[in-house]
């Protein structure tokens, strides 16, 4: 029988280090600096890492049928009603204004430059693919994201989230999963609505001004013809992901409050994170396209 080696902290017992002394002294000096840089980096990217982890968690939980129990479904229904119903009017007004500005200007100036045949592709790439997801993301964030952030933040600060856990209800399952999905569906719905209304309003204005003489069907057919197969994939995907991450970001910011946080500190942070999320999702897709 052999005796197990006894671990010891004594320097004499540790295996001899083959590294030279000067290297060890440099490492000793560099280590605190590296640790500080690591701490700072970790602190800065903590939310991003939490968001990525939570996104994976939402996707994983959503495919389990047991996750969609009646309380979760009811929360999804209520949140979806709030997201779509609350953002509907804002989306219609913003889409109308965007249509008036972007479509009418694009049609006018492209016609002026003799490039009217490019109208469809310009509208698709500028309005539908780039502007719509950003504006819809901002509407989602302002109308519903901040509300969700405040609700969950207050629950966390007030200890109700812990009380939920004491009753055996996982806040991630009960609040984060359904709300994130509601934002995702809401983002897609409002996004498609936004794109349609803005194009329609642009057509109405330019048609009534006599800049366009084609029918509305021809106008929309031109827009659709200008879309590539990538556009058919990426445009809905952008709306879906913008909604998903705005919802998830708001929920996670509300859940991850510090003890000394208040609503006054929470809301600006949530707004900044939401805007960053919207822009990052759009930029990533724009770079990919």
């Amino acid at each position: 029988m052999t005796a197990a080696p006894v671990p010891s902290d004594a320097p004499g017992d540790s295996p001899p280090d083959s590294r030279p002394g000067w290297l060890m002294s440099i490492l000793e000096r560099v280590r605190p600096v590296l640790a500080r840089v690591g701490r700072l980096t970790r602190h800065q990217v903590r939310f991003v890492l939490a968001l990525v982890g939570a996104a994976w968690g939402v996707v994983r939980e959503s495919v389990r049928p047991n996750s969609w129990r009646r309380t979760v479904r009811e929360e999804f229904r209520q949140c979806l009603r709030q997201v779509v119903g609350g953002g509907l009017l804002s989306t219609m007004v913003t889409a109308t204004l965007a249509g008036l500005m972007v479509v009418s200007q694009a049609v006018y100036w492209l016609g002026f430059a003799g490039m009217a045949q490019m109208t469809g592709s310009i509208l698709v790439s500028v309005l539908v693919r780039e502007i719509s997801p950003v504006l819809v993301g901002i509407i989602l964030l302002g109308r519903s994201g901040m509300l969700v952030l405040t609700e969950i933040g207050i629950l966390t600060l007030g200890g109700q989230i812990r009380a939920l856990q004491a009753q055996g209800m996982d806040p991630f399952l009960l609040l984060v999963l359904p709300r994130t999905f509601a934002f995702m569906v809401g983002g897609f719905t409002l996004g498609i609505l936004f794109a349609t209304i803005s194009l329609l309003m642009g057509f109405i204005i330019t048609h009534s001004a006599g800049v366009i003489t084609t029918s509305v069907w021809t106008f929309f057919a031109n827009v659709l013809m200008a879309m590539s197969s990538w556009d058919f994939l990426v445009i809905p995907l952008k709306f879906i992901l913008v909604g998903f991450f705005v919802g998830l970001g708001a929920c996670m910011t509300g859940l991850l409050v510090d003890a000394d946080d208040t609503i006054a500190t929470l809301m600006p942070r949530g707004f900044a994170r939401g805007i960053m999320t919207v822009l990052v999702v759009n930029i990533l897709f724009s770079m990919g396209g």
């Binding site: 609700e151 207050i154 200890g159 109700q160 939920l164 856990q165 004491a166 009753q167 055996g168 009960l174």
Partner: protein
């Protein structure tokens, strides 16, 4: 669910001081089906922390806390939450979600953890509500209810759905006198069907009427949990 062994079995459980702030002293307690443990504790916060410990919400440095034979620390998240669904709890910590009406707050745990028809859950809740002095179920938001009505609602929520363990923090200062008898009757009914009861009290007067029926009497101090002899 019939349970032969102890409902709650705490063996030399030493809470992690860093995570909970509880004194790191080992605690032992065993509650069998039908047991009623009265735990005297002057400090509401300490009682809440101990209730959290029993519900598997506090990390342990050593020892174990088993509920219905399962060690909280060995369970995954899903099992852990599911098992907590079998605990009826009254807490002094703010536990009402302003997102929902009080009636939804009351039935939320049952709707989440069971597949019983919603109508049955509501009917049971209304029956219990009337026992505790409501005309039915309060549908207004919890923020609009008086302290005494919230105490009644907390009782309805805790006793709803035949829980296996009742962890009842002291709300005797909030519960109106007409609901006190109903409270004691509900404890007895729960014990009769095999539930264990852990009842935190601040003063002896709180449980004086129920003293003959109590079979475990303890005192919770910073130094740990101590049996009270001849209390």
């Amino acid at each position: 669910m019939a349970q032969d062994g102890p409902i709650l079995d705490i063996r030399a459980a030493q809470p992690s001081f860093d995570e909970s702030g509880m004194a790191p002293v080992p605690v032992d307690l065993r509650l069998m089906p039908g047991d009623c443990a009265v735990i005297e504790c002057r400090d509401f916060a300490r009682a809440t922390l101990f209730a959290d410990l029993c519900s598997g919400m506090i990390a342990l440095a050593s020892g174990s806390v088993r509920f219905m034979g399962l060690d909280w620390m060995e369970l995954g998240d899903r099992q852990l939450y599911a098992l907590r669904g079998r605990i009826g709890r009254i807490t002094r910590r703010g536990s009402w979600l302003d997102l929902f009406g009080t009636h939804q707050n009351i039935i939320l745990q049952q709707l989440h953890h069971t597949t019983r028809p919603t109508g049955d859950v509501v009917a049971d809740a209304m029956k219990l509500g009337m026992v505790f002095g409501f005309p039915g179920l309060p549908v207004t938001g919890p923020g609009r209810l008086s302290v005494s009505d919230l105490a009644r609602a907390a009782c309805v929520r805790a006793f709803l759905g035949r829980p296996d363990l009742l962890v009842l923090e002291d709300i005797s200062d909030m519960l109106p006198p007409d609901a006190s008898v109903a409270f004691l009757e509900a404890i007895t009914a729960a014990r009769d069907r095999g539930a264990a009861v852990m009842w935190f009290v601040r003063h002896a007067a709180t449980w004086a009427d129920y003293r003959p029926a109590v079979n475990v009497h303890l005192r919770l101090l910073d130094e740990g949990l101590f049996p009270v002899r001849g209390g």
